[in-house]
Structures are given as structure tokens and as C-alpha cells.
Symmetry: C2
Subunit: 198 residues, 2 copies
């Protein structure tokens, strides 16, 4: 058995759907699956390390990388840049290793255009009221912020048919098994694996 | 969450590759996955029950069903007919249940033409010498019979690129996990599952 080029997985879904939790549970159970690290111009929080949680760059550095085409996608939120560097991803893929990146829906759509062979996974809540209850349950945001998140989520959920997989995060254990199955099954696809007679 | 129409899985691979063993281990671990039962004109063995191991038909019954287009595929081996009845399969699929059928490679290729949306899984040995060793290890066939099986297997293995998935049966536990992942992941595909807001 020989594995060919690795698979790029893009995991997305509305804010509050639990995609980070899901991914952090599945990642340690799989070999040769690497989490892509984003770059940002925001300041590191006390517990964050450069090259582990993010690549921390200043605006000049970030903008130069944008000009050099070094990002698969990038965007600004709250005055800071965030982006997905393509270099480390392509290095893993060339080695036959898989890479997963967790990203918001708009960024995922950008990557879909550039990498049509990526396996696109959407994590959704069981239904909209459940998402609303989860966001309100956090109690860290005011009503206007929650309303904005919900409006965004509503638009994002309309994009589901453009994705390859839909994992419904109703029960964490079940959703975890399903997400892991997607990673494993993609490795078995004949466009990623060939048979050698001898 | 609502599941749409079920998925038809076609599991194939050369004789002696262990596809039956694999399937018998995975089937009990999955809900809503039904094994398709073949029809045949050969006589039941003492331990075989009609409607469980096979639908046992006489030649007249079988040929009438062929004329009525009731088989997804059929073939003759050693003077007996074997076929895959489409009726029970379509009944399960319409209910949103998945169906798997275990079949030899030629039959699988026929089904691929008729049901382009079927998920096609090929089970292969780690390499050709391993398959040869397994077939010889059975010690139930003469050299001519083994040589014919190996020649057939060689041709069958060339068909792998026409399949969706390749499961290499090197280690039974690993192959079992991989096959189960294919069943689960296909259920998560957005062409089989939709999101409902409320």
C-alpha cells in the first residue's frame, strides 16, 4: 500500500457550533493528520505561543505575505488580520500527510475556490434554536452581538449544499465518531491511494 | 436532522481477499445497514435458509425475473444462476436505510453502470504474493484452479481506479475500522443529508 499526496480537510461551521471541541477530540486519535496554524496580527494572549496557537506577525509582515501570495485565504476581523499560510500545508500534503484547518465559513468558501480537491466539512447544530440557546448560554455577549452572530449563522447554514460533508453536532460522541470516519474514509479513496502488485 | 434516501454500497474484491469476513465484522456495529441477499438456482446447503443466506429459486423462476428486469445484475457460475434482486434493495433505500451487497468484481462493474450513485468499495490484499499465499493456504483446490483464480484476481485488481474506495486488508482490525469509516462517512455526505432550520 502506498499513500499518495495527502488530503486537505477544511472544517467550518457557525460560531458556537462546537467545531473546535470536536476537532480537539478527534485529532489525537489520528496519525498523520496535522492541524494548520493560522497567522494573525493580533497580540498573543498570555497562554499563547508563536507557531503553536498562531503565527504572530506585525502588519508589515502580514501584508508582505499577502502580496507574495503566501495565504490560502485571509480576512480582517476587529481591525486585525487573520490568514492561512499555504507553505506549511503544502509541505505536509507533499509528504502524503493530511492537513485539517478550522476556519470560519467565508474563509472556507475562499479555499474551496483555490483547492477544489479539498474535503469540505460543515459542522452544524441539530437545528437553529439549539444554536441560539448555546450562544445565549455563554453569557459573554450583549444582545446586539448575539443577534449579529445568529444572522451570520443563518446565512452560513445556507452554504451547506456546497460542502462535501455535513456533521451534525447533536451528541458529541456521535459527532466525533462521524468526523473521524470522514477523515479515515477520505484516506481510503482511490484518488488518494493506489494498489501495487508486488 | 433528516436522512434522505439511503446509500447503496457495493463491496467487491478478488476471491480470497477476506471481504466476507470484513463485512461480517462491521455489519453488527452499524444501524440501518442491510445486507442484500442474492438469488440463486443452486441447491441450498444443509445450513442455509431461504431468504437468509439466499433466495433459492428454480431456473424457471429465475429466468422469469431476468425477463422482468428484477435483477440489478446476474451471472452464471458452474451452471447455476446468481443474481441481485433490486426490489428489496430499493425498498430499504426508499426508507432512508443503507444497503450493502457483497459481490464479485464483474457483477460490481455491472451495478456501477446501472447505479452511478452507488458507493463502490474494493477490498484488496496488501500485495499480490499475499493473495497467492492465502489461496494456496486453503489447500482445497488443485493447482489449475488456483492458477485460474490468480489470473482472474490480476485482471480484477486492474479495475481498482474505477472504484471510489480501496480498503487494503493487511490487518483485519485496521481494515475493519476503515470499512466502517466508509459506511459512516458516506452517510454524512451533503448529497445524502440536509440541514433543517427548525
Amino acid at each position: 500500500m502506498k499513500e499518495q499526496k495527502g488530503t486537505l480537510f477544511v472544517l467550518t461551521g457557525p460560531s458556537g457550533v462546537g467545531k473546535g471541541t470536536l476537532l480537539s477530540r478527534v485529532l489525537p486519535t489520528l496519525d498523520s493528520l496535522f492541524l494548520s496554524i493560522s497567522a494573525t496580527t493580533r497580540s498573543p494572549r498570555p497562554d499563547e505561543q508563536d507557531g503553536v496557537h498562531y503565527y504572530f506577525l506585525n502588519r508589515g509582515q502580514f501584508e508582505e505575505k499577502v502580496r507574495n501570495g503566501e495565504f490560502l485565504e485571509h480576512a480582517q476581523f476587529s481591525g486585525n488580520y487573520y490568514g492561512t499560510p499555504s507553505g506549511p500545508i503544502d509541505m505536509h500534503l507533499a509528504r502524503g500527510e493530511d492537513v485539517v484547518l478550522e476556519i470560519e465559513v467565508q474563509g472556507a468558501m475562499q479555499i474551496r475556490e483555490k483547492r477544489p480537491d479539498a474535503a469540505m466539512i460543515f459542522v452544524a447544530p441539530p437545528d437553529f434554536p439549539t444554536l441560539e440557546a448555546r450562544l445565549r448560554g455563554r453569557q459573554t455577549e450583549d444582545e446586539a452581538a448575539i443577534a449579529l452572530r445568529l444572522q451570520t449563522a443563518r446565512e452560513e447554514l445556507k452554504q451547506i449544499p456546497k460542502f462535501d460533508y455535513l456533521v451534525i453536532n447533536d451528541d458529541l460522541t456521535r459527532a466525533e465518531e462521524e468526523l473521524k470516519a470522514v477523515f479515515l474514509a477520505e484516506r481510503s479513496r482511490t484518488n488518494h491511494r493506489t494498489f501495487h502488485m508486488s
